[in-house]
Amino acid sequence: MTLLEATLVTPLTGGLVLAILGHRPIAGWINIGVGLLTFGASLAMALDVFSHGPQLSPGRMFYIDAFNVYLVVLTAFVGLTTSIFSRPYMQHEVEKGRVTDRRLRLYHSMYQCFLFSMLLALSTNNLGVLWVAMEMATLTTVLLVSLYRTPEAIEAAWKYFILCGVGIAQALFGTVLIYFAAEAKLGADRDDTLLWTVLHSSASGGLDPAVITLAFVFLLVGYGTKVGLVPLHNWLPDAHSEGPTPMSAVLSGLLLNVALYALVRVKMLVDASLQTHLAGYLMMGFGLLSFTVAGLFLHRQHDVKRMFSYSSIEHMGLITFGFGLGGSLATYGALLHMTVHSLTKSAIFVTVGHACQLAGTQRIEHIRGLIRTQPAIGWGLLLGVVSIAGFPPFGVFISEFLLLMATMKSWPWLTIPLLIGFGVAFAGLFRHMQRMVFGEPPPGQQPVRANMIPVIVHLVLVLFLGLMIPDFLSSWFEQATLLISGESL
C-alpha cells in the first residue's frame, strides 16, 4: 500500500512546500512536478491493483477497488494537466496585476491541498474520513474562489462556503445515522463499524431499513449539494465563474465526480439493505430534474464560464439519473460518462480560460472571431463543445447512447424528457459557442501565449474512448458495474 500512501503524501508535501515558496516563478514548475509525481504514483498503484485486484491498506484505513481506482488515476491526471495550464495562466494574471504574490502562494498551496483532499476522499475506507476529506476540499477551494477579491468573487465564495457548509452538515448527520444503524447491528464495542468494507459485507444481512432510508435522505441532500443537483445547485455557477479558470476546471471536472462517488458508495449500502429501489427512484428524479432545468438555463447565460458550469450541472444530472436507473447497461454508461465528462469539461475550461484572456472579458457578446485570431483556441473550443454536446467520434456519445438504450429498455416513456433535454441543451450551447468562435474578430485582438497541450491530450483521449474502450478500463468498469448494480453485463 506504500504506492497509495505515496499518491496521498506527495500532494500534501507539495502543498506545504508551495506554502513557503509559492510566489516565486519556480512555483509553477514545482506545482507541475508534484502533479507529475502524484500521477506517476497513482499509475503505479493502478498497475498494482490491475495485477492483484482490490487492495485494503494494513490498517484497513484505505481501500482501493475497481470503482475508485480509475477515479484516482483520473483525478491525478487532470490535476497534472490543469497545473500545466495554470502556470502560463497565473503568469498572465500576475502580469496583469490581478493576483499579488501572497495570493499566488495561497493559490499554489491550496491547489495541492485540494488535490490531496480529493485523493483522500476517493481512497479512504472510513465514511467519517470521507466526510472530513469532502469538508477539507470545500475549505481549500473557498479561498481560491475569492482569489481576485472583487465583490462578485467574495459574494460567490461566501455563498459557496455557506451552502456547501450546510450541505456537508446534512451529510455528516447522514454518516452519524449510518454509524448508529451499524452499531445497532454489529454491537457497540467494535471500532471498525464505520469502515465501508465491513458495512458493505454486513449490509447484505440488512441494516435497519428505517434508519438507512433516513440516512440516505440526509446524505443525498448533503452530497447532492456538492454534486450540484438542481434545487441545491445555486452556489455552483457563481463559484465556477468567479474563481480562476484552472480552479474552476478542477472543480467542474473532479470535485463533482468525487461527491457523486461518495453518493454512489452510500447507495450501494442502501440498496444492499433495502429491498425497494427507493434510493434509485430518488436519484433518478433528482437527476432528471437537474438535467432538464440546467439545459434550459444554458440559453440565458451571458458569461461563458457560467454557461459551462450549467453544462456541468446538466451532465452531473444525467450521470445521477444513470446511477439511479440501476441495471448493468446504465451503470456502465454512467461510469464511462463520469470519465469522459471530466476529461472534456476540464479541456473546455482550459480553452475558455485562454479565450477569456484573449478577449479580455468573460461576456459572450464581446468574445468574437476566435478561429480567426488564434486557430488553436478557436478549434479547441469548437471540438470541446462538439464533444460535450455528445457527437459521436467522441466518448460522450457512447455513454449517452448506452444511457438512452438502458432507459428505453426499462422506462420507455422517460426517453422523451431526455430527448427534449438533449435538444434544448445542444441548442443553448451551440448558439453561444457559434457566435464566439466564428465571425470577424474585433479590431486589435492579439493572440495570447497559450499552452494547448492539455486540451489536445484530453480531446485525443476522449476521441480514443469514443472509438475503442481499452480492455483494462472496460474490465474495471465491468467489475464496478457488478459491484454497484449487482448485475453483470
Binding site: R149, I162, G165, V176, L177, A188
Partner: protein
C-alpha cells in the same frame, strides 16, 4: 418510559437536553448580537453536560473525549472568536430587525414536532434509556438551519451554522455514543478551520460590500429582467434578401 421511574442521571439528561432545545428557540428570537453569542455558548455548555451524563450512564470512555472537544470548541474557542470579531467590527451593539418573530417561533415548534415524527422510526433502535433525546438533536439541527435561513447578519448565519454542527455532534454522541476518535478529531479540526475562515470572510465582506447584511449580496443574480433574452427574431428565417454575395 415514564419519567418518574428513571434514575437521577437520566432525569438530568432529559432536563439538560430540554434546556438545550430552549436555547435554540432563544437564539431564534434574539435580536442583539452579544446575547446571541452568549446563548450559543450556553447551548454548547448544556450539550457538554448531557454528553458527560450519558458517558457516565453508559460508561463509554471515549464519550468524555467528545464532551471535552465540544466544550473546548463550542463553549470556549468559537464564542470567544465571534465575540472578538464583533467587537473589532463594532457591531456588538446593533440589533437586527427580525421579520415577523411570532411566525418564526411557531414554525420552530412545528419543526420540533416534525423532527420527533421523523425520529420516531429510529428511536426504538437505540439502547439508551433516554433515547428520545435523538429527536431533540434533530430538532436543534433543523432549528439551526432555520436560523440561517432567516437572519440577515452574516455573524448570525455563522452562529446558525455552528448550532447545526453542535446539534449533529450531540446526535452522534447520544445515538452512536460518539464517533471513532479519528473522525471526531477530523470534524473538530474542520469546524475550527471553518470558523477562522468565517472571520477572514467577515473582513473581506465588510471591505467590498460595506456591511455584513447578507441581503445586499446579490450582484450575481439572473432573475432580473435585464438578463432576459429578447425572444423575437432569434429563430427567424436566416435568409435576409441578397445580403451575402
Amino acid at each position: 418510559m415514564e419519567f418518574a421511574k428513571l434514575g437521577l442521571y437520566n432525569q438530568a439528561i432529559i432536563l439538560f437536553a430540554a434546556l438545550a432545545l430552549l436555547t435554540s428557540f432563544l437564539m431564534l428570537a434574539q435580536a442583539r448580537m452579544l446575547p446571541l453569542i452568549f446563548t450559543f455558548a450556553w447551548q454548547g455548555f448544556l450539550l457538554t453536560m448531557v454528553t458527560v451524563l450519558v458517558a457516565m450512564v453508559t460508561d463509554h470512555r471515549d464519550l468524555y473525549v467528545s464532551a471535552l472537544l465540544t466544550f473546548v470548541l463550542k463553549v470556549v474557542v468559537i464564542p470567544w472568536l465571534l465575540y472578538r470579531l464583533s467587537v473589532r467590527l463594532q457591531m456588538q451593539y446593533n440589533a437586527e430587525q427580525i421579520a415577523h418573530p411570532t411566525l418564526l417561533l411557531i414554525s420552530g415548534v412545528v419543526l420540533v414536532i416534525f423532527s420527533y415524527f421523523v425520529a420516531k422510526s429510529i428511536i426504538h433502535l437505540s439502547g439508551l434509556a433516554t433515547r428520545n433525546i435523538i429527536a431533540v438533536s434533530i430538532a436543534i439541527e433543523l432549528l439551526g438551519m432555520l436560523l440561517m435561513c432567516v437572519r440577515k447578519s452574516a455573524v448570525a448565519q455563522v452562529i446558525g451554522f455552528m448550532s447545526m454542527e453542535s446539534g449533529i455532534f450531540f446526535a452522534a454522541s447520544v445515538s452512536a455514543y460518539g464517533m471513532p476518535l479519528i473522525v471526531e478529531l477530523g470534524v473538530a479540526f474542520d469546524i475550527l478551520v471553518a470558523s477562522i475562515l468565517f472571520g477572514v470572510f467577515f473582513f473581506h465582506l465588510r471591505d467590498s460590500f460595506g456591511s455584513l447584511d447578507v441581503g445586499q449580496y446579490n450582484h450575481l443574480s439572473e432573475a432580473n429582467g435585464a438578463d432576459a433574452i429578447d425572444v423575437r427574431p432569434v429563430m427567424a428565417s436566416a435568409h435576409t434578401p441578397g445580403d451575402h454575395a
